[in-house]
Symmetry: C2
């Protein structure tokens, strides 16, 4: 028995979608191909997702849930002290990086198709609010233009993961497999951000 067949049909369709869309792009894959890969019949995509676009949206939304659930928890409560504020930023950075690495195939798909999951928009909003509260409480420099710098963490993390093999071939650094490098990179970039915003 194929390993696939132990999973329910819906899950098989989702993972076949991830596999094929990340390799060939959304427009390069047919419904027939996805169903064949998932070892199910053509009407199952219609049944679970409406159509190919519905499958893509489900993949991206469930990725968003995976990736941002923990960072969103960290950002939801108001920081109670300066230490709490900065240590939560550190945790947001680390958990987002881990989640991006874990879900790198779907990250590629979101970039290629330029589709944001709802929770990415929510994350950006929560992060901005969190920093704005830090500013009100005096943890953050008064001159800081909060709206303009909230992309910092996602830009750095997105590119390290998206371009991992490119960076590896240019510089030798291997964030996907070298735990020491991962820690050093993460620590230094959180440190840059925190020093960049702190009052």
């Amino acid at each position: 028995m194929n390993k696939h067949n132990s999973e329910p049909t819906k899950e098989r369709l989702l993972s076949s979608g991830v596999d094929l869309f990340s390799k060939k792009g959304y427009s390069g894959v047919s419904v027939r191909e996805i169903c064949k890969h998932a070892e199910t019949s053509m009407n199952m995509i219609h049944h679970y997702f409406g159509n190919k676009e519905g499958l893509l949206n489900s993949i991206i939304e469930s990725y968003g849930q995976n990736v941002f659930v923990f960072p969103l928890k960290l950002l939801a409560k108001e920081p109670i002290s300066r230490t709490d504020f900065f240590s939560r930023i550190e945790l947001v950075f680390e958990t987002t990086l881990d989640a991006y690495i874990e879900n790198s195939l779907v990250l590629m798909i979101t970039i290629r198709e330029q589709k944001s999951p709802t929770s990415l928009i929510e994350y950006a909003e929560c992060f901005k609010n969190f920093i704005a509260i830090g500013k009100q409480k005096g943890f953050v420099r008064k001159e800081l233009d909060v709206e303009m710098i909230t992309g910092f963490i996602l830009d750095r993390i997105t590119n390290q993961v998206h371009f991992a093999s490119w960076i590896k071939s240019d510089t030798g650094a291997d964030i996907l497999n070298d735990q020491e490098y991962l820690k050093r990179w993460s620590k230094s970039n959180v440190d840059l951000f925190i020093n960049g915003i702190a009052s």
Copy 2:
């Protein structure tokens, strides 16, 4: 007469390559298609660039020259004072951003094909050295891990330009056409970086 025909054949092939590779990807374009678009005969690609890959490499290398010539000049001389050091970082950021916007189509090609022009590697090296000198001279925090943070500027700029239309549809911000936003974004991010590294 087509506007194309006033340019020399070699230039026409380069700009047809940029146009077609950025729209359809390197592997989605044939030599025949490029020559037709450039209104020249098939053997001209062979004559000027050897083959399709030679054309791609020429496009990417000449893009690298365009984009990094001014930033490289700014980084070449040793900073003579703290003010000189930080104002040069500001200029590097602004000139790199302008050049990326100016050359956004080739930026898309380098990202899609994951090919770095020689001068990008040189830029990364020079930037790292420049910050390291700033550290030796006491302008930069002692704890700063220089190697880990030099990607900051290129990550921020690359993503703002590469994802410009995506960012616009998610947030309304339009870095390619809104000069006010461009200035505000650029100023705030330089400010974050400088505060992040300064001693």
